[in-house]
């Protein structure tokens, strides 16, 4: 016997990465009832930095100080890029709403402005980004002024070497010093894990001991950088305590994924979903998705584990597909080609696998496979081969969309947040037009 529980909502969001979370948030903010399906583990790979648009065009590797000027250029030169199809005002509203919601869940971001910011990465490169967590903002744009600055790491935190970052920047930034300290209480451990350190620093005592170890190293430093381990749930408090204790601005540098900033983002977004009343089926996958013959509503059959007999059934008046690309499982590829994983929607893609990837991993023009994906109409509805929408109430957002290369453009979060905003705006109008919701 197959047990089926039934649930219903205005919008079913499939996917719980950045785009799925943004879509569910924006839907709930509009008063739409929302169910979210999918594993949110992909967020652990986020850095906490919210890129909007840093590079355009990709082949030239041109970096932009103003993401909005970059967006205007993108709209002129690549009108089919998903971000080019969202107006600037909507993008600003979407980002403001998103970071406000995170702030409400205890993950504060620095005020969003007109400019991109530059931050240090853990291998000593400079990253152009837009939304910067408050705990990282004191490190933003430091390379412009290059003040005396101290970078620290903890012995045993394998993927983060302050020495590496300082060495990589030594020519451009002579005042950048580095040091290494033992993490209090972990002196005997060969390997440290960032999430463990982040939790430990929520203890006032561990914090005080750490600050005491840093103080003698301060010298003339006008700011101090740490790997991103300054607290987890109470990162705001931990960060403030470090600044108060050291008497200089303190900033975090994201570590390699999965990182503490990713964990914070995941926790904050889960809290937002909970507060907003989004019902989450976070361990479930979609076994089947079918629309009513009139295209009015959809039925999603969920499974707890692949092949499980019992599951849930969700009725939804609209569906937002935010399932991501290959890592997120929204797209799947075999030797013959790329498929959309749930409905088998047409995927725009190169003619043959030989054209998927460039000969060089870092080829400036990027890999053609990364621009493969779903084509959508102006209402964000995936198109069939004949160019008409697959279903009237099926929408797609985020990285599954074609015509973009978010990794090279530095626009991952922007793509997720902006397209989620635009699609939910569309869904809201559709459902309101039908008189309910």
């Amino acid at each position: 016997l197959i047990r089926v529980r039934q649930d219903s909502c205005d919008v079913a969001v499939i996917g719980a990465g950045m785009a799925g979370m943004a879509a569910a948030l924006f839907a709930a903010q509009r008063g739409l009832t929302c169910i979210q399906v999918g594993n949110s583990g992909g967020l652990l790979f986020a850095s906490g930095l919210l890129d909007l648009l840093g590079v355009h065009p990709v082949a030239e590797g041109r970096l932009w100080q103003s993401p909005f000027a970059a967006l205007a250029a993108l709209a002129r030169e690549e009108p089919l890029h998903p971000l080019a199809r969202v107006d600037a005002l909507s993008i600003r509203s979407a980002f403001e709403s998103f970071v406000a919601a995170l702030g409400g869940a205890g993950l504060r971001y620095a005020p969003l402005g007109e400019s991109n910011r530059t931050v240090l990465t853990s291998i000593g490169t400079i990253k152009t980004t837009y939304g910067v967590p408050k705990s990282m903002i004191a490190g933003a744009d430091l390379l412009d002024a290059r003040p005396p600055c101290l970078l620290l790491d903890f012995r045993g935190l394998r993927e983060f070497s302050a020495r590496q970052i300082a060495a990589a920047l030594s020519e451009r930034w002579p005042g950048l010093r580095q040091g290494q300290i033992e993490f209090p209480g972990c002196e005997a451990l060969p390997e440290l894990y960032s999430a463990h350190l982040a939790r430990a620093l929520e203890s006032r005592q561990t914090r005080a001991r750490t600050i005491a170890l840093v103080k003698p190293l301060l010298g003339d430093a006008r700011a101090v950088g740490f790997p991103a381990v300054l607290g987890l749930a109470r990162s705001g408090e931990v960060h403030a305590a470090f600044e108060a204790g050291l008497g200089v601005p303190v900033f975090e540098i994201p570590t390699m994924p999965t990182s503490v900033p990713g964990l914070r983002l995941l926790r904050a977004l889960e809290a937002v979903m909970s507060v907003r009343g989004v019902r989450r089926y976070h361990q479930a996958g979609v076994r089947a998705l079918a629309f009513d013959a009139d295209g009015g509503s959809a039925t999603l059959d969920l499974e707890r584990t692949p092949g499980a007999r019992d599951g849930e059934r969700v009725r939804a008046r609209a569906v937002v597909l935010a399932t991501g690309r290959f890592t997120g499982r929204g797209l799947s590829a075999d030797r013959a080609g790329v498929r959309e994983s749930i409905l088998g929607l047409p995927v725009q893609q190169p003619d043959s696998r030989a054209a998927w990837h460039q000969r060089d991993f870092l080829d400036p023009s990027g890999h053609a496979i990364n621009r493969a994906g779903l084509c959508v109409d102006d209402a964000w509805r995936p198109l069939k081969a004949d160019g008409t929408p697959a279903w009237p109430r099926l929408h797609a957002v985020g990285s599954i969309l074609a015509q973009q290369d978010w990794m090279r453009s530095k626009c991952g979060s922007g793509l997720a947040i902006a397209t989620a905003w635009a699609a939910i705006d569309q869904v809201g109008r559709e459902l309101r037009g039908k008189g309910a919701g």
């Binding site: 390997e191 799947s332 030797r335």
Partner: protein
Amino acid sequence: LNSPKNTETQVLIVGGGATGTALARDLALRGVDCILVEKDDINSGASGRNHGLLHSGARYVAGDRQTAMECHAEGAILKRVAPQTIEDTGGYFVAVQGDDERYIADFPSLCARAGIAARAVDLAAARALEPALSERTIAVFELPDASIDPFRLSLETMAHARSLGARLMRRTRVLGFEREGRRIRAARVQCGGEQLRIAAAQIVNAAGAWARELALLAGAPIEMTYFKGTLLVTHTRLAERALTRLRPPADADILMPGGTVSIVGTTSTPVDALDDVEPTTAEADLIVAEAAHMLPALATIRYIRAFAGVRPLVGSAGAAGGRAISRGYELFDHEDQGLDNFATITGGKLTTCRLMAERAADLVCRRLGVTRPCVTATTPLPVDPQCGWTEPGRSPRAWMRSHTPDDTLLCECELVPGRAVDAIYDALRAAGDVPTLTDIGLRSRVGKGACQGAFCAPRTVAHLYNRGDFEAGRGLAEIVDFFSERWRGQRAVLWGEQLAQAELMEALHCGLFGEELHWEELRTEAPRNAGIGGATGDAPTNGGSP
């Protein structure tokens, strides 16, 4: 003009593959002083880009009995003197429906005539022991094939030679020879930023596929044909034994265990140039389709990389697909070309590298008047703990058994501890080298697991910075260099799970780190591996080591 620095030796060996290193050891054991120059690194050519199959010889019984018998004898010798480099898996020769029945019927007697014991195996028993074999299997014979780690073999062979006084110069390419009458007096070589002159009484060309160019530099041309062979590495090990399709040698008919993975191939395509030899998607498709006849799971299994090498075969083109040219080796004394102290040893198989070295060393010793005989067939190859990190599965065992409290794990796919990297780095440093991340990759499992270096490469670099080994912006340059080499082997097999893995790698290294924005500036720095005589060499990727 700078006058080049001088050094001298009795024998100059060119080429650091299986043959060149074996020759250095052979000569060193006979008390002969030698220098080995290698334009890239140990096993950069075909020696590092093969199945790792220690042949029983049975593959060649029908077409080339001489090679079959040599492989058989040499396989047995290596199992005795270098057991640490070998996993004595045994092998099955497997025929499936549709394969040539006459070939199958003749096979046992052909083996017998070559002195090779082939034992027919009951089909049900064979499939019980190797469940991946096709249901359409119609004949199975057991042969004494085995798996050999070619990197460990060459690294340990060279380490032994060095302990006996032989000198190794990596990243050193021959620019030209000084010839006087019938003798070459010296070689001019480029070593890093400087030129050196190496005077030698004898010179041996063991440059593998590059032997043709080197012989030409010496003014003694030889005829060689190049065939590219591509192989795929699976994510998991599919079979316990060396599995060979029971038919005349053709594409994709060998599946080798390589520690925790399997290696399947090869293809055979004639190529003119030695550069730009990389696996293609078409070759990967061909291997998957063809090999799935013997092992159906190969159609759906996850692959983590591909690699391609060039078979240096002696002789002229025209032979069908290169399969018909002899796998036998060739020793040229070049005396009929007016040279009395130059020799070329090339062709052959990994399995016969010791024998090839013995023949070359015999010639050189005769010319030098050295009468000590070859002892490599009986002298055990000493185990060198620093050369053991290439072995798949060693690290986890070593880690579980004996990791010290202050040791850290740098690679989580293959469990490479920090002390492995330390040992490799320090050994290279002690020999006067400037070790790179790519060097460490060749001598360990760093970058060999499913993540292909996405996580362990930055971790290893951070580790080396913390040790004070890396300075300034070198780390980024090393990571970029390492990935560009690893990538060549990934492109052809990026579908399914491995495509998701590659996407994750790009999200980290491009999305977060923005390495592609530094690519142009970094790749224009030191131009690497300009090959002998101007040919560009295939860069070292350790492709062959799974």
